[in-house]
């Protein structure tokens, strides 16, 4: 449950609001969002396109700054930190999966997965990355570059990359949006498996009813507000 008072919150927002100015107008994308996600939870964020889901996810990860309000990640108020400290925090406790994969085209599959560990200065980056790639079924494609892989394969690498640091929290923005339904199902299976094995908290944005049904709770956004 979102409001379970017994759990320890991984992420919590307080009166989160995001406005952007488009020319002369002020556009409010998110308004007064208060939510709390506890450790081990799985939350589906749903809502019509344009309702502010991606923006919310980005703010939770500290990828953008809110207009007002705050976000606590692992008990720390992330917008009191500077960009670099925020990035470091992200690297430590957060994984992110994008709808459009966002792999680095310059790096091989293995190097892409090793990247977050190397950025943290971890020692055994290669072993960990190999294991995880094996785990997502791409043990044979270690030295391939993203452009040599299909969309489903690229997304599996992205998932491996997100999980390789054993994050407390995984944020996924329409992870199956660019995939056919069979491949999408595989990806979802994979995410929930890893969620179970590693005890990772999941927050996913999705349009997929089946997927949202598998989550422990659901947040619905409409025009930048939480409606239920």
């Amino acid at each position: 449950m979102v409001d379970d008072p017994t759990g320890k919150p991984v992420v919590q927002t307080f009166a989160l609001t995001k406005c952007v100015s488009t020319g002369d107008d002020q556009l409010t994308i998110l308004e007064d969002i208060n939510l709390k996600v506890n450790s081990g939870d799985s939350v589906a964020v749903v809502g019509a396109s344009g309702s502010g889901k991606s923006t919310l996810l980005g703010l939770l990860a500290g990828l953008d700054v809110p207009t007002t309000g705050k976000v606590q990640l692992g008990g720390e108020d992330i917008f009191l930190l500077d960009e670099d400290a925020r990035a470091a925090l992200r690297g430590r406790i957060l994984g992110f999966v994008f709808q459009s994969f966002q792999l680095l085209p310059a790096l091989t599959a293995l190097e892409n997965v090793m990247l977050p560990l190397e950025l943290m200065g971890a020692q055994d980056a290669q072993t960990a990355a190999r294991e995880l790639l094996q785990r997502v079924g791409l043990g044979m494609r270690l030295t391939h570059y993203p452009r040599q892989l299909s969309g489903g394969e690229q997304q599996r690498i992205a998932i491996a990359r997100a999980f390789v640091t054993q994050p407390q929290l995984l944020l996924a923005d329409e992870p199956t949006g660019n995939l056919d339904s069979a491949t999408g199902a595989q990806i979802i299976e994979l995410m929930f498996e890893l969620n179970r094995e590693l005890g990772t908290t999941l927050i996913l944005v999705t349009h997929d009813e089946a997927l949202s049904a598998r989550c422990a709770s659901r947040i619905r956004l409409a025009a930048g507000r939480v409606v239920d």
């Binding site: 980005g58 990828l63 960009e83 990035a87 992200r90 690297g91 310059a106 790096l107 977050p116 950025l119």
Partner: protein, 834 residues
């Protein structure tokens, strides 16, 4: 759909989005640079040749040994040219008991037409420089202006009177500077200047007097040339035309150097601007792949897309080129102010051609380098909508760039006005880019192999370079070009200008002594010692007339070339030497060694050999004082004539010419403090001929100084174009970098980590580019030195090291500065764009 409206709307959007700024900047710089250089070069060249003409006192002189037919003067006036006349002859000047042989010059209104006649009212001894002023007129009737020599010899004071022939003149000014006196065989005769109106009354000019008449002409270049063409065939016996280019080989060669140097600098900026434009367009098209893919999906034909962008670019091109022209016009106006002061003459008004030329340059650059990527844009597969990483085939690129290069070559040939120079500079450029490209690709492949053995920042840097191998090579070559401009601007320019300046040091010989006899060698050396002057090197000289080539008697009529005929009819000065002078350079064959002494062989200057039509292995026969000497050519030499040192067309080893009657010749530097030595020399050795070239040397020095400044200015544009290339090269991977940065930071990278990875990448690219730049700048230095300056080029031994380190540091710095904003954009904003 109205194509024009859509196209203009897109242009406006792209401009606002800042996508066209680099391209626009490159074009403005290219066109602005070209027009400024165009105006500047024109004006400098005009100014410089006027400077040269100051030595003549005119743009053109017709000399004759009899009064010239009035037709010449009338024709010149009819053509709107300024004219004046001068008559020169030797005569005695008398003051009381004292009489001196002088050289009298009687001039008419307007003299001198170019340069200044300066006079002083201060007679007697003065400390330091004598205060003087521009005369602004010729001596009034009844006045005689005298030079310092006559003043000293006759102890003249202002207001004294002297007699010239039957007339008494008042000495009322002292000549301190006279434009046309400085050159030639001066028998140290003092000089007197009078008004031509007084000449008949003196009675000095009679049948048989040795008078040299001159018609001085000056005006617009074209008009002077036309007049020359008109006058040339109408010359009678004893009449000849002299222009600056015939008269003063030293000035001429300085002028030619300046022209070549300037046009090479201009060409360098065009190449750089082209590279910047090509990079900018490349980036532009890459950014528009998506838009095109979508348009293709929506049913736009390839032709429609091409048309759309062509229109878009043509409008951009016109606007940017127009702006460039304006920039060029204003900067040349600013320049003109500065230049006018520098050359102390009025500059001809700027013509319209440099503007037209600049506009065309902009369009040619744009079409030549924008078209190929645009053609690629046209054929973007619609499938890209589904998979963004599907790019375009590059099949059109190579063929397309060939088009751009061809356009550029045409531009070059036109600009350089010299097919060979244009094609060879272009060819060298293409070859260099090709070689660098290949080398770069190999190096990058090799480096990428090392990637697995490296860690951290360097690994990611190398990974990015490898992935973008082709783009990285393009980037390195472009950076190399930009850096080359910078290196050329700093190291090479200084080396070259230093080299040029030192080719004519301040103590270059400024007096020649001719006709020294064998028995005067000892006393002459003693004379130099006695006056505290260094003993100059003395060269033997034997005069001989060429009579046969390979045993066949010479028939001068066989030579169509007038100059060649004249050369052959004249006596040659032959000399001998064991060692070759260091201002000579063997171009064919070999210089002799000790064992060749006494062998009948010779070394000939290459230019004269070409003119006479002989080469290695030919045997030439000379008639020397009635006996004949045959010798075979075993080497051809290039001689640097403008060092003002004694040089000979024909040299033999020792032991060949010694038996023939010889006189000796030398050249030496006379410090200004020793000016009286010339007089003493003439007194002690009356048979010697002293030739004073100090004024020419001063003139050449002044010109070198001015040309140096001019070149420095022109190089500023090369520098700007170089910076544009650097900027475009760094910007060319900006989009990928922005994307990369967002991902890196999502994954938890701190800014420092990202900056280190990029720094590594930029350092590798910069190092490569620096290597290219050093090689390129050395080649450029070599070409300019050999081709434009005619000086041997010694490459700077540090340039490789400096290039690599400057490249690494510079590109790293520029790159990181260019990517700073990327680091502070929130990642979500970036990722949302994609």
């Amino acid at each position: 759909m109205n194509l024009v409206r859509l196209s203009l709307r897109m242009l406006r959007r792209d401009w606002r989005a800042g996508e066209l700024r680099v391209l626009g900047f490159a074009l403005v710089i290219a066109v602005g640079g070209m027009t400024t250089v165009g105006f500047f070069a024109d004006r400098v060249q005009a100014a410089l040749s006027r400077q040269g003409n100051q030595l003549l006192g005119a743009d053109l002189i017709i000399h004759s040994d009899h009064p010239l037919a009035p037709g010449f003067r009338e024709e010149a006036l009819r053509r709107g040219l300024a004219v004046s006349t001068a008559a020169r002859f030797p005569s005695m000047a008398v003051k009381d008991e004292n009489s001196q042989l002088t050289e009298i010059k009687a001039v008419t209104e307007g003299y001198p037409l170019r340069g200044d006649l300066r006079v002083s009212g201060e007679f007697g001894q003065v400390q330091g420089l004598r205060p003087d002023r521009v005369a602004g007129a010729i001596p009034p009737s009844g006045s005689a202006w005298v030079d310092e020599k006559l003043m000293a010899q006759m102890a003249l004071r202002q207001g004294d009177s002297i007699e010239l022939g039957a007339t008494r003149f008042t000495v009322d000014a002292l000549i301190t500077e006279e434009p046309d006196h400085s050159i030639g065989f001066i028998n140290l005769r003092p000089r007197v200047l009078i008004n031509a109106a007084d000449l008949p009354a003196t009675g000095l000019i009679q049948q048989g007097s040795r008078v040299g008449y001159r018609l001085l002409v000056a005006g617009e270049d074209g008009a002077v040339e036309n007049f020359r063409a008109w006058a040339q065939p109408r010359l009678a016996l004893g009449e000849r035309i002299e222009g600056i280019r015939d008269a003063r080989p030293e000035i001429k060669s300085a002028l030619e150097r300046a022209e070549k140097f300037l046009s090479l600098a201009a060409l360098a900026s065009v190449v750089l601007a082209a590279a910047a434009a090509a990079l900018a367009v490349r980036r532009f098209t890459q950014r528009h792949l998506d838009g095109c893919a979508v348009m293709r999906c929506l049913g736009a034909s390839q032709a429609a897309i091409l048309g759309l962008y062509l229109l878009h670019f043509s409008v951009l091109g016109l606007v940017a080129s127009g702006t460039g022209c304006l920039l060029g016009f204003f900067s040349q106006e600013v320049l003109a102010l500065w230049l006018a002061e520098m050359v102390e003459t009025e500059l001809p008004a700027p013509g319209i051609w440099p503007g037209v030329h600049g506009l065309l340059t902009g369009m040619v650059l744009l079409i030549g380098f924008a078209l190929p990527p645009l053609i690629n844009l046209r054929s973007v597969p619609a499938l890209r909508v589904l998979r963004r990483d599907i790019g375009t085939s590059n099949s059109h690129s190579l063929a397309g760039y060939a088009l751009g290069l061809a356009a550029l070559t045409l531009l070059f040939v036109w600009k350089a006005d010299d097919v060979r120079l244009g094609i060879s500079v272009m060819g060298g450029f293409v070859a260099a880019v090709g070689v660098f490209g290949m080398l770069g690709l190999l190096l990058i492949r090799g480096l990428a192999r090392m990637r697995s053995q490296t860690g951290g920042a360097l690994r990611y840097g190398l990974a990015s370079i490898r992935r973008r191998a082709a783009a990285s090579v393009v980037q390195a070559v472009a950076l190399g070009l930009g850096l080359m401009a910078l290196l050329a601007l700093t190291l090479i320019r200084d080396d070259l200008l230093q080299n040029w300046r030192s080719s004519l040091p301040p103590d270059a010989p400024d007096h020649f002594l001719v006709n020294i006899q064998q028995d005067q060698l000892e006393p002459l050396a003693a004379f130099f010692d006695q006056h505290g002057l260094e003993r100059p090197p003395i060269f033997p000289m034997v005069r001989g007339r060429l009579t046969a080539i390979n045993g066949n008697p010479i028939v001068t009529e066989d030579y169509a070339d007038i100059q060649a005929r004249r050369q052959i009819e004249r006596e040659f000065n032959l000399s001998w030497a064991q060692e070759m002078q260091d201002d000579n350079q063997i171009v064919e064959g070999h210089w002799w060694n000790g064992s060749d002494a006494g062998r009948a062989v010779m070394s000939m200057e290459e230019g004269i050999a070409r003119r006479v039509g002989v080469g290695l292995g030919d045997t030439l026969t000379y008639d020397i004082a009635g006996s004949s000497l045959s010798a075979t050519i075993t080497s051809l030499r290039k001689v640097n004539w403008d060092t003002f040192r004694v040089n000979f067309f024909v040299l033999t080893p020792p032991g060949v010419l010694e038996a023939y009657p010889a006189t000796y010749i030398t050249s030496f530097y006379m410090p200004p403090a020793h000016m009286d030595v010339a007089n003493k020399l003439a007194k002690a050795f009356p048979n010697l001929l002293v030739i004073d070239v100090a004024t020419i040397i001063a003139q050449v020095h002044k010109m070198i100084g001015q040309v140096t400044r001019a070149i420095e200015f022109v190089f500023l544009f090369t520098l700007m174009a170089g910076l544009a290339v650097l900027y475009a090269a760094i910007a060319s991977t900006q989009d990928e970098r922005i994307h990369e940065a967002a991902i890196f930071r999502t994954l938890g990278a701190r800014r420092g980590q990202l900056a280190r990875a990029w720094a590594a990448e930029f350092a590798v690219l910069g190092g490569l580019a620096g290597l290219f730049a050093a090689a390129g700048a050395s080649a450029l230095g070599y070409v300019i030195s050999e081709y434009a300056l005619n000086l041997p080029y010694t490459p700077n031994p540090w340039i490789g090291l400096i290039g690599v380190f400057a490249g690494m540091a510079g590109v790293m710095l520029a790159g990181l500065m260019g990517t700073r904003s990327v680091l502070s954009t929130p990642p979500l904003v970036v990722l949302r764009r994609l």
